[in-house]
């Protein structure tokens, strides 16, 4: 595990392979929760948390259960099972011990349960950091960092989008384009600009 590799993972996940704007995963919350900045940031933080934790759990599951039994093909269903159960548990714990945090994050947690971005990052982890049925050196840390920075990229995209959509409220938009249509146009423009990062190679 070396720092330059983690930096490369960070830049790759936040900008070049941004989960929303380059990989087109997790578009539902991207359009659904991006009307205002505050809930958008809360949602983004919740996603970072869930992504990091579920990647840790799924890595262990893959390494210690799926690989030894040679049932790697079950990864999608087992990962969904784990993520859903984990998010439910987190929701209960937060609700019990911190009502303010539950108010801030709680309503977004069920949304994240079936978020394809979370499943996407865990699948990407096992694709990237397992070679020929074996974990590469530092695989666990790389996958945790990859998930964390994927969440940061998600937060960034959501934050930018919500900022733009807040400004849109004040603009004189043609009647037919108000609301979702203009949001789609902006999403595509943002996506184009993020595609520009693909020119950089690390």
């Amino acid at each position: 595990m070396d720092v330059s590799k983690i930096l490369a993972i960070a830049i790759s996940m936040i900008f070049i392979n941004n989960f929303i704007l380059s990989k087109f995963l997790g578009l539902c919350p991207f359009l659904g929760v991006s009307k205002e900045t505050k809930p958008a940031v809360s949602m983004g933080l919740a996603v970072i948390f869930v992504m990091t934790c579920s990647s840790i759990i799924t890595w262990a599951l893959y390494r210690f259960i799926l690989l030894p039994f040679h049932i790697e093909y079950l990864r999608t269903i087992t990962f969904i099972l784990v993520i859903a159960a984990f998010v439910q548990l987190i929701e209960m714990v937060i609700r019990k011990y911190s009502m303010p945090l539950y108010r801030a994050l709680g309503i977004y947690l069920p949304l994240i349960t079936t978020n394809c971005a979370v499943l996407g990052v865990t699948i990407l982890n096992v694709d990237n950091f397992f070679v020929a049925g074996k974990a590469i050196k530092g695989s666990f840390f790389y996958s945790s960092f990859q998930a964390f920075f994927a969440g940061v990229g998600f937060l960034l995209a959501l934050f930018l989008m919500s900022g733009i959509r807040e400004r849109l409220q004040l603009l004189d938009i043609p009647e037919h384009a108000k609301g979702i249509p203009i949001a789609f146009v902006i999403a595509s423009l943002m996506s184009l600009s993020f595609m520009g990062f693909m020119g950089f190679k690390f």
Binding site: F69, I71, T78, L81, V82, M92, R95
Partner: protein
Amino acid sequence: MDILIPVITLGAMGLFFGIGLALAAKKFCVASDPRLEAVYGKLPGANCGACGMPGCMGFAEGLIEGRCTLERCSVSTEDTLKAIAGILGIELKTKIKAAAVLHCYGGSVRAKDKGAYRGIHDCIHANLIMQGQKLCAYGCIGFGTCAQACPFNAIIMNAEDLPVVKEDACTACGKCVAVCPKKLFSLIPKHHKVYVACSSHDSGKDTKATCSVGCIACRLCEKACPFDAIHVIDNLATIDYNKCTSCKKCVAVCPVKIIKTRD
């Protein structure tokens, strides 16, 4: 045998998470506020929406979270509100009781018809066909849609096809205000005794031609009022209830007797 390993693994995982979540749900369960049920039980349960919340349950939640004040429930009686205030441990401000009044006194006798109406016996339907059968475009159609809409049976239709509001039963929920196609009802605090029983904005001459009890905009009430509370605006006498003291001087001078007193 190969099939057994994935089946067992997946089954075991499902069972493990299922039991785990069930146990966790028990361990981390959060009891909801017991006051919620108590407050909800006291509220009228009419879900009329006069408080501005989505139904009585929404109002109860709002009360407990301190988002709304108890006085906004216009339906509950004073005693009920006091009981709820007791549950919540808050103080009840004296609220101003209001009741609906009808701003029209035409009816079948005094307001002329433009023709016979043979459609659906309902004001909203009648209003769609040339604004109802009355010559006066502002007046009461008289089919009792308001009486049907009232959830508290506080409006009855009299022999002259005019709705009469029973003030004791009226809770100022505003259903009649919303349903009347001519917008003839308004909610006026009960301590104000005077109201204008006409809504016609036609000129005096035109009003006279359609109805014997229409405001002819003569401005006698304006001159008689010592408090500057009544004005003829757009051919119709209009009372400013911030200034009105219910002295009833305008009631006495009105030549067509459309400024009326309650009770």
